[in-house]
């Protein structure tokens, strides 16, 4: 906070650096967001939806899977209410990210909470949660989370714009839908170490496939909830709450 803290565009250099750290944390996922945006944009064009409305969707709803579902419902001639409800059920998982981010956002000013809430996405939310403990200072933390969220939404929106302008330029045989599981494998697996988390992953996976016939993509929501519920019953060897139990487990013991 001294002579190095030059102010550019009203933002001090420390804050630029923290924003940049957030961008770097999420950067490997940005090409995937662009591709997914391209796919949504191409769908908007094929469905004959007004280009402005398509772009508006990506900056207002900011949730690709639900936007695709809306376009498909409209194409199929479904009632508007059904299209909206389908989208909201798909996006219900965002409430889980929001709950998990509540302690992370708690010390932020109200306007930051309101602003950052809008740009919660699967990718930025989980990257923010993974890094939150590294940012004890809430001021620096909020700039980091802004960096991990804002530019990610920006590239998603630019991908949409490009897809609407270009149409379906990516051959279907490339099956770019694979980018979806791949992105989330890249977010999930490298940080997967504790037994509660592994149980949560196994239970969520099982419930999703067992619930494959549920409507509205409810199997994803139920899978996530079941994983959280069962996983949180599993004792975490590394964090075995010594304050409650009155003793300390062998730290770093056998896996």
């Amino acid at each position: 906070m001294s002579e190095s803290n030059r102010v550019v565009l009203g933002v001090a250099s420390q804050q630029w650096r923290d924003t940049w750290a957030g961008i770097r944390a999420v950067a490997p996922l940005m090409p995937g967001a662009v591709l997914f945006g391209l796919a949504f944009g191409a769908l908007v064009r094929v469905a004959g939806i007004d280009p402005w409305v398509g772009n508006y969707a990506s900056v207002s709803v900011v949730a690709g899977a639900s936007q695709i579902a809306i376009v498909e419902q409209l194409r199929a001639g479904a009632p508007a209410l059904i299209a909206v409800v389908t989208a909201l059920v798909i996006n219900a998982r965002m409430a889980l990210y929001s709950a998990a981010l509540a302690p992370v956002f708690a010390a932020f000013p109200r306007r930051w909470q309101l602003g950052l809430a809008h740009i919660i996405t699967d990718q930025s939310a989980v990257v923010s949660l993974q890094h939150a403990d590294d940012w004890p200072d809430p001021v620096r933390r909020r700039w980091f989370i802004w960096g991990a969220s804002g530019p990610f939404v920006a590239v998603w929106s630019m991908g949409t714009a490009a897809g609407i302008a270009l149409g379906p330029v990516i051959p279907e045989s490339w099956q770019i839908g694979f980018i979806v599981p791949l992105m989330f494998i890249a977010v999930l697996v490298p940080g997967l170490r504790t037994s509660p988390a592994m149980v949560a992953v196994a239970v969520a996976t099982a419930v999703v496939v067992l619930g494959k016939d549920l409507p509205f993509g409810l199997n994803v929501l139920f899978g996530a909830l079941a994983g959280i519920g069962v996983g949180s019953l599993v004792p975490d060897g590394r964090r075995a709450a010594p304050r409650e139990e009155g003793h300390v487990d062998d730290a770093g013991g056998e896996p």
């Binding site: 490997p28 639900s66 965002m94 302690p103 045989s173 490298p190 509660p196 949560a200 999703v208 899978g223």
Partner: protein, 104 residues
């Protein structure tokens, strides 16, 4: 016009969903240990649910075994080995491209 209204309604509803947890669980309160432990699993559980749905299923049918599963296995292996996001994605894309090119 219908599309505009539908997206607007979905945007408002989704914003309220995104705000819900921050709003209800936020503030100075100390969350119970049980809740904190559950919230720590939101990321892994949600990621796994999305992966399972996108990888193993195709709509409400099982996805036919092939390039998707094999490339995902390569990505998981590399992720466990190198523990970085960028390398995992690069490996998954490369494996998927090779598998598609060989006609799987």
């Amino acid at each position: 016009m219908t599309a505009f209204l539908v997206f607007t309604a979905a945007a408002v509803g989704t914003y309220l969903i995104r705000l819900s947890g921050v709003w209800l669980l936020g503030g100075d309160r100390e969350l119970p240990d049980r809740v904190t432990r559950a919230l720590r699993l939101v990321g892994p559980a949600a990621m796994a649910a999305i992966i399972a749905n996108a990888l193993l299923l195709e709509g409400s049918e099982w996805r036919t075994f092939g390039a998707w599963h094999l490339a995902a296995l390569v990505a998981v292996g590399v992720a466990l080995w190198r523990r970085t996001m960028g390398v995992t994605i690069a490996a998954g894309v490369a494996a998927f491209a090779v598998l598609l090119a060989t006609g799987l």
